[in-house]
């Protein structure tokens, strides 16, 4: 859920002639790949769509800490524990970069987080799936972060300056995440026991389809894509990105010595791409609606953290005010 399913409010694209002079100037800037900055004039729809997209992206990073947090207390070696901790910390950091970029548009972080807790906005549906074994830490890093990177690499060229800069930073930092995940799986497949190998295959079986769903509905069912593409806050279609991901992932899967739970997955010489089976879109929409295995738990955890921490934040604020008062009295 990065740029895959973001409401734009636009049912069809305006032509340059139909636009107001400001809109036309804006669109020409975007077309010329000039970055839009916080203080530039922008259409209200662009601003709203961006806030929605960036907040969803940020929420995804933050909620995305939880499936991994589920295993950080059970990491099997010191090295793996440190790697996982660093990765989770990066995710919190990436959430913060994105909220920070979002706030340049005048949006309020607390308000956007409230919307998340009230179930009014979405986050990547993948994080509503449970992590059931240690191998999931490998699969999440390899498949889930891998899919996210495919999305995020193109978002580095997004038209909004602060968003683009946050994405550049995030992509740079995330380069180790996918490798870390793949290495977990590779080590178990190469040197692990039979049980460990089964753990890996089982994990891939569970995450394969949900990872493909991360790219969002197929292009035919993405009514908002056209406007987002015109605004260049989305740079490639859902299906294009999904195909890219599959093409780069299948050889890695084969190298592991594992299989995908898709009998239709095979190389198509004519297309120069892998063919793959039909995604279960009913499952996708149900998980998105809140009926996934962990939707309630994930939101509950975040709500408890923020609501339960209210007294802490208030105390810090009260203390800061007292200190300021003291300084003023002393001066």
């Amino acid at each position: 859920m990065y740029a895959q399913l973001v409401e734009t409010g636009a049912k069809r694209l305006k032509t340059l002639e139909e636009m107001s002079p400001e809109e036309r100037e804006f669109q020409m800037k975007v077309d010329a790949e000039t970055k839009i900055e916080a203080k530039n004039w922008m259409p209200e729809g662009y601003r709203k769509t961006l806030v929605r997209q960036m907040s969803q992206h940020a929420h995804s990073e933050v909620v995305g800490m939880l499936p991994e947090g589920n295993w950080v207390t059970r990491a099997p070696t010191l090295k793996r524990k440190l790697q996982l901790m660093a990765k989770i910390q990066d995710e919190a950091g990436h959430g913060l970069y994105l909220y920070s970029a979002m706030e340049t548009l005048g949006a309020d972080r607390d308000e956007e987080i409230d919307k998340l807790h009230e179930g009014k906005v979405k986050y990547s549906s993948i994080f509503n799936y449970p992590t059931l074994s240690w191998a999931d830490m490998g699969t999440v890093g390899w498949l889930v972060d891998g899919a996210a990177i495919v999305n995020q690499v193109v978002l580095q060229r997004t038209s909004y300056g602060p968003y683009s800069r946050a994405m550049i930073r995030i992509c740079k930092e995330e380069s180790f995440h996918q490798r870390q995940g793949y290495q977990i799986l590779l080590d178990m497949m190469r040197e692990g026991t039979e049980e460990q190998k089964q753990m890996v295959q089982d994990s891939i079986n569970r995450f394969w389809w949900p990872a493909l769903m991360m790219f969002g509905p197929s292009d035919a069912d993405s009514p908002n894509s056209q406007q987002s593409m015109a605004w260049k806050i989305k740079r490639k279609s859902n299906d294009e990105l999904r195909q890219m991901f599959i093409d780069q992932t299948v050889p890695q899967l084969e190298f592991l010595g594992c299989t995908a739970p898709d009998p239709d997955l095979k190389w198509n010489d004519e297309r120069g791409h892998y063919d793959f089976g039909e995604i279960d879109w009913q499952e996708f929409y149900e998980v998105l609606k809140g009926n996934g295995p962990c939707n309630k738990e994930r939101i509950e955890t975040r709500k408890n953290a923020i609501n339960g921490g209210a007294w802490v934040r208030e105390a810090a604020k009260a203390y800061a005010e007292k200190q300021q008062q003291k300084q003023q009295n002393a001066a």
Binding site: K39, N40, L96, S100, A166, A310, R313, A316, Q323, Q324
Partner: protein, 93 residues
């Protein structure tokens, strides 16, 4: 969070370079802002120096004023070293 104000963060990456704006953090006070900035923006030892400034204290030029503020200097090419052509024999200056 809960009214913790926003601070803009500037990081100097190496000695000799200017501080560069990297983003923002929320914090209850400036000490906390400094620590939060350190934890967020220098996790990979990106910085040797950090400034935090309350966002409310920053006045930004509006891009719409760009022409008024910045265009006048566009033609003052004599401010730039490359304006001055020196004979090659002078060497690097």
């Amino acid at each position: 969070m809960a009214d913790w104000p926003l601070y803009e963060v500037f990081v100097r990456s190496k000695h000799g370079l200017n501080h560069k704006h990297v983003g923002s953090v929320h914090a209850a006070d400036s000490e906390m802002a400094m620590e939060n900035a350190r934890d967020l923006y220098t996790r990979r030892s990106e910085g040797v120096s950090i400034w935090v400034v309350p966002s409310s204290a920053i006045t930004a030029s509006s891009p719409d004023e760009k022409e008024v503020l910045f265009d006048p200097s566009d033609d003052k090419i004599y401010r730039h070293a490359s304006f001055y052509k020196l004979p090659d024999e002078v060497g690097h200056m």
